[in-house]
């Protein structure tokens, strides 16, 4: 599953999608309650934008998502380093972490609603709780793969503990952290939207579910396209960031055990 730094498929591959949408537009005659033609999607989104709801919703969703993912990355990195560097801690917590990772993230939403209530910090805590596990586990596994040997190297070079940590361990773990962040990114987007849908808190998820509740199907499809574009953009940004960071901290060849 190794992906090149920036490897985009040829644009002519978009043809089936565009042909499908065009066919939808041409073939749908008259009002279609569930599957409105694409031209109406644009109008529906433009209307929300004219109401002044769209931009704040996008900002709200993006901000919550970014804050949650950043906190998850920071927390997963620190906790992962600690757990990975202390083998007994790793063994004792293995099953617990496995369970938390296997727990379908959406079920955390009702739990958090009940325990924390409808506050903005609830949204962020749920995103952190849901997306921290792939990051944490990837950091733990890359520390445990690389750690022992590197610590011995550091000792033989008479480095202090801080030097071992900052000069050897952390750079070696960065690729694992990135893999975790990439896995966690779509997860964090989904959870952000889901919380907004379930709690009707402001954001794109709220607009999606509002469209459905008002039987405004054009709004639902328009928001769907918007959310898809958002997902695409965020994924591209993460890929670019990954390429940049990996150039600075290339994966080390010490992983062979």
């Amino acid at each position: 599953m190794k992906r090149g730094a920036m490897h985009l498929p040829p644009l002519r591959g978009l043809a089936p999608l565009l042909v499908g949408l065009a066919a939808w537009q041409i073939l749908s005659s008259g009002p279609a309650p569930s599957f409105p033609p694409p031209s109406t999607w644009w109008r529906a989104v433009a209307q929300i934008a004219a109401n002044g709801q769209l931009v704040p919703a996008i900002m709200e969703t993006l901000w919550t998502f970014a804050l949650g993912l950043a906190l998850a990355a920071a927390f997963g990195f620190v906790a992962g380093l600690a757990i990975g560097a202390v083998p007994p801690l790793r063994r004792w917590s293995a099953l617990l972490l496995e369970y938390f990772r296997a727990l379908p993230p959406p079920v955390i939403v009702p739990v958090a609603v009940l325990m924390l209530g409808y506050v903005p910090s609830m949204k962020v805590s749920v995103i952190v709780f849901a997306s921290v596990w792939p990051i944490l586990l990837n950091v733990v596994s890359s520390v445990s793969r690389v750690g022992g040997g590197l610590i011995d190297v550091g000792r033989s070079m008479r480095l202090t503990r801080a030097e071992v940590l900052f000069k050897l361990l952390i750079p070696a773990v960065v690729p694992g952290l990135l893999l975790g962040v990439r896995v966690a990114t779509p997860l964090a987007i989904v959870i952000t939207l889901l919380i907004e849908m379930l709690t009707a808190m402001p954001g794109l998820g709220g607009l999606l579910i509002a469209g459905q509740r008002n039987f405004n199907s054009a709004q639902v499809f328009g928001m769907l396209v918007l959310v898809g574009l958002l997902g695409l953009t965020v994924n591209l940004l993460v890929n670019v960031a990954e390429a940049v960071v990996l150039r600075r901290w290339p994966p080390r060849g010490l992983a062979q055990d």
Partner: protein, 260 residues
């Protein structure tokens, strides 16, 4: 070595539960709705004695497995076609890459509009996101095969269909299974989401219902059961995979694709 790891892992779990119980019992916690593990266990016992509980588990399992089966079928067939034909790949890969990052949750309102509160709505939400891991892994598995395999098939004078069935598909099986496994855990997640947002049946709805009724012990009980189902289904698929493809599954999988 492995047994010791399991013992210590279980020990860690027990320590966590005891700490949790202690925190709640001592009144140390400031959360109003945090039940002790013992209360959750009692609630689970009461739920298991009633009839609705098993029906809810059955409904979620049915939806997840049905959606997964549809996604697996479509994904393998489409992945085979895309993997075998570079022309088809050139003319559709960008469409797939554009659709793939669409978050699955966003399909819940569409499914609700089209199908109302029904199993079909759940399937609509489950199938699309779970399709991608199967499709992409099948396609990748086929297109990564050595071209020599095609020469082998040709020298045996196998027809296109026969070559696909007897040469390409088995060679790509490991990669297909990776996709199937990712899809399965995703199918459970999507079923729960569909039930939380839309169709008021099954475990996903049960969690939301208990939350709204302010029954934290029952809610945590359902959450526990959902986690357990995810783990058990993964184990079952791994057991099947180990039997079908011994040797391929010793190594840990890179974790791709969380919920979408």
């Amino acid at each position: 070595m492995k047994d010791r790891g399991l013992v210590q892992g279980t020990g860690g779990l027990v320590v966590f539960l005891v700490l949790w119980e202690g925190v709640v019992r001592s009144g140390f916690a400031t959360f109003d709705y945090l039940p002790a593990p013992s209360a959750v266990l009692a609630a689970l016992g009461k739920l298991a004695a009633g009839g609705a509980f098993w029906g809810e588990i059955g409904h979620t399992l049915l939806a997840a497995l049905l959606g997964w089966a549809i996604a697996a079928l479509v994904g393998v067939v489409a992945g085979l076609a895309l993997g075998l034909s570079p022309w088809l790949r050139r003319y559709s890969l960008a469409s797939i890459e554009a659709l793939r990052p669409l978050p699955g949750v966003a399909f819940a309102p569409v499914g609700l509009l089209a199908f109302g509160f029904s199993l079909q709505m759940e399937l609509a939400v489950i199938v699309l996101p779970t399709l991608w891991p199967v499709l992409v892994n099948t396609m990748g598995g086929i297109s990564a095969l050595s071209p020599r395999l095609g020469e082998v098939a040709r020298s045996f004078r196998l027809g296109r269909f026969e070559a696909t069935l007897k040469v390409y598909a088995p060679a790509a099986a490991a990669s297909v299974l990776v996709g199937l496994r990712l899809s399965m855990s995703l199918a459970v997640v999507m079923a729960v989401i569909a039930e939380m947002v839309g169709n008021p049946q099954g475990l996903g709805y049960a969690v939301v219902r208990e939350q709204q009724a302010l029954h934290p012990a029952e809610m945590f009980g359902y959450v526990f059961v959902i986690g357990l189902i995810g783990i058990l289904m993964n184990w079952a698929l791994m057991a099947v995979a180990k039997r079908v493809l011994p040797g391929e599954f010793g190594r840990p999988l890179a974790m791709e694709a969380g919920a979408r």
